[in-house]
């Protein structure tokens, strides 16, 4: 299989696994030590990168998932170098929303994005990102903007007028970007200027794979191999793994992979009961995590686990991921009419939280969590319905 010639720098063999001296690897699992003033940042020192903050528990570098409520449940945010696996809800409505929040957060913070999808062009995905609620524009989002009688063009002009007042560069970096975690308006699209100012790479599977596919016995599905090479290439070329020390400004790479495991990726795990006899998806996840651990990146993956019949496989995938969150929407299920759940759109299950650099993890005490999507806000809360139910009957 084709390999990227420039990967990794020096050729590593068995010996390097035991070698004591390695090049200054920029892993994200650095202890937050005292700042050494006056020295150049060639050592493993945590420089402050926009949109990140250290965890209060272990100094682990965290990024926001785009949903402050979810950040709280995960113990402050998503750790850099880890994978967030979202088990999709049945119609992929809310999971794709979470996916978009994650990417939008990257744009607002100035992170580099890598969007991979097999069914949708990444450029289109970026167009559909929700608009951020920024402090200096908050005054706009009052009730008269949502007045449906106002013609569409009028609203657009209003926003453009606001932008004209401020110098262009300042507006592209929103004033509130120093805040960790932002709120988004799901009914509005992200402003075009923000997308154009951001740096992103797209991986659209039908473009990368030639139609005349020669089937060779590889250890991984062709699509997965291409994606891994693409990711590895970006990480190396742009220095997210610390291989370009002269880069002054460190940045985070946010990777988003949509519908991983679906048949469009060439994987049969969702189709047959004993699919994935080649263990394509698990090997992909393993190598991906290896790439993430040695670079300043964070990854979100949505997976249609409700289509996978082999439950043991889901357990394998969970063990190979760091954070796993499952979404269960009430659409079309009997719970939609259940009075207990009438305030909510679905349930959110925190299936796994990683223990990184620690014996313990920030597991929240509350396990019954429901979510609801209001126009501006995706809230997650303890299901109050249960309390009411008990008090009414006992």
């Amino acid at each position: 299989m084709a390999t990227v010639a420039t990967c990794g720098g020096d050729a590593v063999g068995v010996g390097s696994a035991v070698a004591t001296a390695s090049k200054s690897n920029v892993t994200s699992f650095q202890r937050r030590g005292p700042r050494v003033s006056g020295t150049n940042d060639s050592g493993p020192r945590l420089v402050s990168i926009t949109g990140t903050r250290p965890s209060v528990r272990n100094g682990q570098l965290l990024v926001s998932t785009g949903l402050p409520a979810l950040d709280q449940l995960l113990g402050g945010g998503l750790a850099v170098g880890t994978v967030l696996l979202i088990e999709e809800d049945k119609y992929n409505i809310y999971s794709s929303l979470l996916f978009k929040y994650f990417l939008a957060e990257g744009i607002v913070n100035g992170h580099t994005l890598l969007v991979a999808s097999a069914n949708e062009d990444p450029a289109n995905i970026l167009q559909e990102l929700p608009a951020p609620l920024l402090d200096n524009c908050k005054k706009e989002f009052d009730e008269d903007v949502y007045n449906h009688k106002t013609p569409e063009s009028n609203i657009k002009m209003k926003i453009a007028w606001r932008y004209q007042l401020l110098p262009k560069m300042e507006q592209i970096r929103p004033v509130s970007s120093s805040r960790f975690g932002h709120y988004y308006d799901a009914s509005k699209r992200i402003p075009q200027e923000l997308i154009e100012a951001s740096k992103w790479h797209g991986f659209f599977l039908p473009e990368k794979i030639s139609p005349t596919l020669k089937v060779e016995p590889c250890s991984l599905t062709h699509g997965y191999i291409k994606l891994l090479q693409f990711i590895q290439n970006i990480i190396y070329e742009e220095g997210f793994d610390g291989s370009n020390p002269q880069k002054k400004q460190k940045n985070i790479l946010r990777i988003g992979i949509q519908n991983l495991g679906s048949p469009l990726w060439g994987d049969d795990i969702c189709c047959t009961e004993n699919g994935d006899s080649g263990h394509n998806l698990t090997k992909f996840l393993y190598v991906l995590r290896g790439l993430l651990r040695t670079s300043l990146s964070a990854c979100i993956i949505t997976m249609p686990t409700h289509l996978i019949q082999n439950k043991a496989f889901i357990a394998h995938v969970t063990n190979l991921s760091d954070t796993v969150v499952g979404l269960e929407s009430f659409i079309g299920s009997e719970r939609e009419t259940n009075p207990l759940y009438k305030d909510y759109h679905g349930l959110i299950h925190i299936r796994q939280i990683p223990r990184l650099n620690n014996l313990v993890c920030d597991e929240s005490d509350v396990k019954d969590l429901g979510f609801k999507l209001k126009r501006k806000l995706f809230t997650i809360e303890l299901e109050s319905g249960f309390a009411f139910f008990h008090s009414a009957h006992f």
Partner: protein, 266 residues
Amino acid sequence: MFPELNNLLNTTPDRAEQGKLTLLCDAKTDGSFLVHHFLSFYLKANCKVCFVALIQSFSHYNIVGQKLGVNLTMARERGQLVFLEGLKSAVDVFFQAQEKPHPLQFLREASAGNLKPLFEFVRVALKPVDSGAAGWTYPVLLVDDLSVLLSLGLGAVAVLDFIHYCRATLCWELKGNVVVLVHDSGDVEDEENDILLNGLSHQSHLILRAEGLATGFCRDVHGQLRILWRRPSQSTSQRDQSLTYQYKIQDRSVSFFAKGMSPAVL
């Protein structure tokens, strides 16, 4: 290492038993605290340790190890610890064709492979050095964890063969120890994992099983630990001794107590 667990197991780093296979398994909870315990235990016992860490990075174990009183970086530098970082090596073996067989060679193969290259790595790493200057007591192999090997496409038989070879070399020939972690899938029907778990259970001398509480999540009691001492080579005329404790994991240690005797309850 956790002093309370040493008391329960009735061992200290100075007088640990040799030639034993210890099986760690976890069901519905995270049993990685046991791996950290044994890693620091054997490093303190001055053993030569080969750690096949397939699931987390080196710095993770290093930082936790510092909380438990061992410095993995220094142990690696002076040759006491041989560390195979699975995640990092997987990237290397996947993107570059290797000249000689890499321990994780099976990642490149389309069909189910075997673990011979991994065994060779372990054997070379724990081979007794004739110079005798280092003076390590006995070799120890630690694997975290074996279920990952099953996820990556190896069969249960291949993994059992690997453990068999390791036991023959390390436990019988070199009088060392082997400690492995396997996840128990529980209700989920995972045939390969069950074969592996049953096979290893019959071969081990000590089984530590961390289970989540049957009643669900609890903030003060994180789970239950079952300890089972076995004598696989001898006839089972004597009953295997078994103990059960509940535990709570804290920042630097784990506290154990009898069932129902959690300090939060009393």
